[in-house]
Amino acid sequence: MTARPGVSSDQLGSFAVLLVFSLLCWAPARAEELVADLTSHLIAITTGFTGASVVLFGAVDGPGDVIVAVRGPDREMTVRRKSRVAGIWVNTQEVTFANVPSFYAIAASRPMLDILSPAAAAFYRLGISNLKLAASTPAPSVVVDAFRTALERTQQQAGLFVERLGKVDFLGERLFRTTIMFPSNVPTGTYLVEVFLVRDKDVVSGQTTPLVVSKVGVDASVFDFATRQPGFYGAIAVLTAIVAGWLASLPFRGA
């Protein structure tokens, strides 16, 4: 593991915020069952981006467990399956899922099965297996299930579907915090961070906070330029390459 100064200073800041927050909470703010916020609502992707972490902190009004789910913007994904045709492996079957979260992470203060009933987990779509992934390709349900499992496995391997991304830790009975980690291949867009308070195996309160993952600085400009002025961008890319190639050959002149 390499030291990441950005993360540690982030965490330091979060402790300070947490301290202030906890002092405020001791005041008679009892009406809310659950209050939570993030140390930052923006993940800025810059040239040196290697992933990021955000601390979610909050308080509950009494004993209970907390579940945190982070959901990235939906995307359409096609899963293809290969089979052997004349000795060669060929894509033969495909199933398209219309609304797959591009990122999904879930954390809980205790193992999910211990604190939440399967029915409630299904209702609130908590856990990778409870995500509502609708197949837009007509296929028998056995086939769709197999493709769905493959999709879940692949996304997990890519670090884009994460279960227990870091436990939700309680500090005393009321204050909790958890660290949400984002890998370097995190998709951009508006994320929703859902926090649930769970008692007696059911959700009693919930709160949703947005989180934006966005490119900033030079990378954002390059990306914007490439999408808004594609032809011009292409021409510039070619010209840059030509100039770079020419420049590179200069110091060797006469060699």
Binding site: I88, A150, A241
Partner: protein, 305 residues
Amino acid sequence: MDIYLPIAEVSLDIFVLLGLGAAVGFLSGVFGVGGGFLLTPLLIFIGVPPTVAVASSANQLVGASVSGVLAHWRRGNVDFKMGYVLLVGGLLGSLLGVWIFTLLKRLGQIELTISICYVLLLGGLGGLMMIESIRALFRLHRPGVSRRRLHQHTWMHGLPLKARFRRSRLYISALLPVGIGFVIGVLSAILGIGGGFIMVPAMIYMLGMPTSVVPGTSLLQIIFVAANVTVLQAYTNHTVDAVLALVLLVGGVVGARIGTRFGMRLRGEQLRLLLALIVVAVAAKLAFDMTVRPADLYSIASEKG
């Protein structure tokens, strides 16, 4: 040290990218092939999305080829006339190629087509080149054998529109290079490559060009084909990562310069045998991959929503 690539949307180690660029640049300097056929699969292997890998390697090829052509040009090893004639065919061919590509993509079998094309092309060409260069090497060791004829006369020399290519010391029909350029243009568009590894053997064996002018002339035409692909990809698919291309280029030009000098030290026959070995190795690897049961039968394609 990691660098974030804005179009590919991943962070990769900058030194890995530089090294990759240098290795491919070295090959391009020695043989005059663009190296796209190696660069693209390698980029995909280290985690760049395939569409971005194809488009960005085209972008880096432009720069690498410019630098290569300049190097060869200073030594007088570029046949500009031949290059332009090949290019005319190449541009026409790439139009047809893009159309075929779109058709195959709609049918969902583009990946397989690409693999099969690669295996057949690389295997066939590489095999022929290997046999020829081994023969040539043995001929050299036998004393008292007469020099090779400049070229053999076949039906190809009966075609109309004869033109003189002074640098290549050839007097042949212009239809021949236009035709070769056309076929390569089609293949380049389908395979997403500059076509150097097809171009080089075609120049040597079909046109009968002297080996010394082949790399420079091949690179000259690759500049234009790659530039065409870059602009088309940027325009239609937004998949050209200029940052990635630039990093690869920095490594590439260094590699290309070393490669050009290294290439000068080798004899034509050795050069051809080496290229043949690389080409056959890549073909064997691709053929092997097609028949081996994949680690994961499932693959995922994501549409940006």
